[in-house]
Amino acid sequence: MTLSVVLFAVLSILAIASALVTITSKHPIRSAMGLVFHFFMLAGLYLTLSAQFIAALQVLVYAGAIMVLVIFVIMLLNLGDEEKLKYKVNPRQVIGIFLGAALLVMLGTIYVTNVSVAGFNKEIAANIGTAQFLGNELYTKYIFPVEAIGILLTAAIVGAIVLAKRKLN
């Protein structure tokens, strides 16, 4: 058993456990902190795949920015324990369960059939994970999608400000 296998096992067990805390906990802050912990474990999993850049961004963006905002809102609203709602079968939940099961089956078949990706080896993977490589690819080969997303996000921010301002008046 190599070190990476041990790390993978520990990180994935903790990731699943914290994900369970997130969806089962009644208290919103507990859920949110469970999710933060989950993001950290995901970052660790990315590191075992030598994707350092994605790992750092995972913590920086998701744990550091988005979840801080979520916790900020929960604290401002001062939410208490979730009240027990009457349970009804929701069509969305049924579809969700089916899709989840389908994903599980897909992943299982990949594991069982042991598909190997052509031309994949550890050195190439380690190279892809660096900031230099990603930056080069994004700003040369994928420049159009990057710029399009940039314009979309700017539009969304401007829209959010306009909506917030209108409410104020």
Binding site: I29, M33, Q52, L60, I71, F72
Partner: protein, 350 residues
């Protein structure tokens, strides 16, 4: 023994040294703060425990250990205990990528002075850790179930989110000039021109922005709104006592050290000697040269720490709206402009 075992042993020894060093630096900061504030206010300051009162911080911590730990009745027990631990551990975690001297060659092993200063996402790691550092204070404020604590926690998260942006943007200038995210590379890049190509000369605007945001991120005066005594009693740590309070205290002073160290590494040439190493007769990779590097680095850090304390005891606190205006309407546009100008400069001059 396989290579991995050596790496683990090396990293563990370095980690122990770094954690011990941070605690000592925190003690030194407390002592300096009390002495300098005393001089600023025409007092003598601590002078009873040890020579010139130097053992005062240890007496303080010992006192905190012996104090009763009070948890409010309606507090969320779990998060109330977790918050100080988070604060301190994140403050220490940043040091995983921070170098404090060059390297030493022992046999055919090159040992860098720092736990992992050469990883190529070092700068991003630091930004990530400063951005999650807000959890400790926010959770402390919320879990105490006290309005002053909650307001302090909310203020701190708003402040840190606002100033993080300008901080990150001011560092982009350095990344553009250096072309690397590794802290070792950033310092090595400044060693050119006989050790005087400091980023402060190439990025003066970035330096000022980073300095201001460093004050804001460490919650120190004039940006210490999360614990503004006249309005918030004690801010986020109102309901903390004993060693839990001590951990926040340690974390604050550890963060102050970290900020000073980062300013030295990013802008003030890191461990660059004022004269070339050859004129001093020191060989590359020798222990003597690494020690000289460390000494230069440490003196710079001490001067910045003095600056931090000096500012705190000279300048009054900002009002909340002034703080937000400064962050969003002044620092952010200037840092965006700085990134643009630096990018143009790098494109046409390099």
């Amino acid at each position: 023994m396989p290579e991995i075992i050596w790496t683990i042993i090396e990293a563990s020894i370095k980690a122990l040294a770094v954690v011990g060093g941070i605690q000592l630096m925190a003690a030194l900061n407390v002592y300096l703060e009390r002495k300098i504030s005393a001089f600023a206010q025409n007092r003598i300051g601590p002078n009873r425990v040890g020579p010139f009162g130097t053992l005062q911080p240890f007496a303080d911590v010992f006192k905190l250990f012996l104090k009763e730990d009070i948890v409010p009745k309606n507090a969320d027990k779990f998060f109330h205990s977790l918050a100080p631990v988070l604060s301190l551990s994140i403050a220490i975690a940043v040091w995983a990528v921070i170098p404090f001297s060059s390297y030493v060659d022992i046999g055919d092993r090159r040992i860098y002075m720092g736990i992992a200063p050469d990883i190529n996402v070092g700068l991003l790691f630091i930004l990530a850790m400063t951005s999650v550092g807000v959890y400790g204070i926010t959770l402390a404020g919320w879990s105490s179930n006290n309005k002053y604590s909650l307001l302090g926690g909310l203020r701190s998260s708003a402040q840190m989110i606002s100033y993080e942006l300008s901080m990150g943007l001011s560092l982009i200038g350095i990344v553009l000039i250096t072309g690397s995210l590794s802290l070792n590379d950033i310092v090595n890049h400044q060693l050119a021109w006989d050790g005087w190509r400091w980023n402060i000369f190439l990025q003066p605007v970035g330096f000022v922005i980073f300095l201001i945001t460093a004050f804001a991120e460490t919650n120190r005066a004039p940006f210490d709104l999360p614990e503004a005594e006249p309005e918030l009693v004690g801010g986020f740590n109102t309901e903390y006592s004993g060693m839990k309070f001590g951990m926040f205290f340690l974390a604050e002073y550890a963060n102050m050290t970290t900020s000073s160290v980062l300013i030295v590494l990013f802008y003030l040439g890191g461990w660059a000697l004022p004269v070339p190493a050859e004129t001093l007769g020191l060989k590359d990779g020798s222990i003597a040269l690494a020690a000289a590097h460390f000494l230069v680095f440490f003196i710079k850090v001490l001067m910045l720490l003095f600056f931090f304390i000096w500012v705190r005891w000279s300048i009054p606190r900002f009002r909340y709206d002034q703080l937000m205006n400064l962050g969003w309407k002044i620092l952010l546009p200037i840092s965006l402009l700085n990134v643009l100008l630096t990018a143009l400069g790098v494109l046409y001059l390099k």
